[in-house]
């Protein structure tokens, strides 16, 4: 799973210059690499940890926001020859950090291939609205899995002023 901004992955008729099997160049910005590695999260086949991963990603925000993401079968990456390694996540949701992975040794060409693979999974691009993110975070805070004090100020403020 990778956090994205869905608007960049839209292939719309209004974008007449964009081929049907192509993607907007802006989408590449959603795949910002660090040390030629792309941060992704492992989601179980039955999606049992999906909410945990979404909550973990949401804790990194400055503000309460929607969260757009895409799910890609791990086998798709494997077939494309992309290397996945375990690296512990760095979110304040400690329980979730074990699900973090990196796609490593990415060249520019393989990054574009990754983008095209993701674009081919448009049906697996999903969105949680800000209100849904809020209630998910509240649930994890209530369960004691996330500490409010560890969240960024504006996000914390929004959670504290919202009824549960």
């Amino acid at each position: 799973m990778r956090k994205i901004r869905k608007a960049k992955w839209l292939n719309d008729k209004a974008l007449t210059w964009l081929g049907t099997d192509d993607l907007q160049a802006d989408a590449i910005f959603d795949l910002k690499t660090d040390d030629n590695a792309l941060s992704v999260w492992h989601v179980e086949d039955d999606k049992s940890n999906l909410q945990v991963v979404i909550a973990a990603l949401s804790t990194t925000s400055d503000n309460l926001s929607n969260l757009d993401y895409v799910l890609v079968e791990q086998s798709v990456f494997a077939k494309a020859g992309l290397k996945v390694i375990h690296t512990r996540g760095k979110t304040v949701y400690d329980e979730a950090n074990k699900w973090h992975r990196d796609l490593v040794e990415l060249s520019a060409k393989s990054l574009i291939n990754t983008a095209l693979l993701i674009a081919s999974q448009r049906s697996e691009m999903k969105r949680l609205l800000p209100k849904q993110v809020l209630s998910l975070l509240q649930e994890k805070i209530m369960a004691g899995e996330i500490k409010t004090a560890e969240l960024k100020e504006k996000l914390r403020g929004k959670i504290e002023q919202s009824p549960q």
Partner: protein, 277 residues
Amino acid sequence: MMLSEGLKPFNTGLNQWCLVTSETATPSGEPLGRISRDIEAFTATSPATHILVADPFGPYSQAVAAGYSNELMPDINMPTSSPYYLYLMDYGSVSPCFYWPDVVLLTSSNTDEGTDTQSQNTAKLIERAVRLEAAREISIEFEKAKEESFEDGMDSEFSRRLENLIIKFDHSALAVIRSLVFVADFYGEAVGEALRLLGRIDHPETYSNRLVLLEQCLFHPDARVRDAASLGLAYLDNPSAIPYLRRAIQVEPNEMLLEDMEQVLRQLEETLQCLSS
């Protein structure tokens, strides 16, 4: 400080302006320099950076022009360039031929001079001047935003500055954003960021106008704008947008976006249910 009667200070929130009108006839034979000196004195004691000339062909305006550009009146020995933004307003009769970077011409062609008093006209022109100022400031931010990349949930310099401008300029800021989205047919990622911000900010004074603008953007030809508008409405969580969302869903050609709009609609319907129970 005694100013000539045609000089009036006003504040638009961001900048102090000096309004130059010809409501009071200039005493005949008054040296041009006197009015220029008045403006100098005014701007020296106030933070005025913008000068608005209501009648570019009246004697006051000639004086301002003389004082602030040799290009306009080359025979008069005055400072060569203005440290101020100079705005000239035209009541619709004559087109001036000023080609000068900091001069902007405001026309009053749609003001009804037959029934409106001159002060009403001036008020309308001042309103337009405020909008122009907002346009200048906001356009600069949209230009700068081309260098920024945006991520959901993360603060950006652009959204921080735009929020301040919305607070400063209120409805004028929204009018400018509307024209950037619809009239200028401008799209940058900044437009999407701006529409999200319109839903997110806490500014009751512009709430209803923000809601209306977001509803209008649901029908924009660009799917990325429609997407950002539906997100903005999700932030506002106001059930009065339900009819607009329903109509937008009926005509939405993009499957991916349709799904997201339906999700927002469900949220607003739930909110409506909560409010009515």
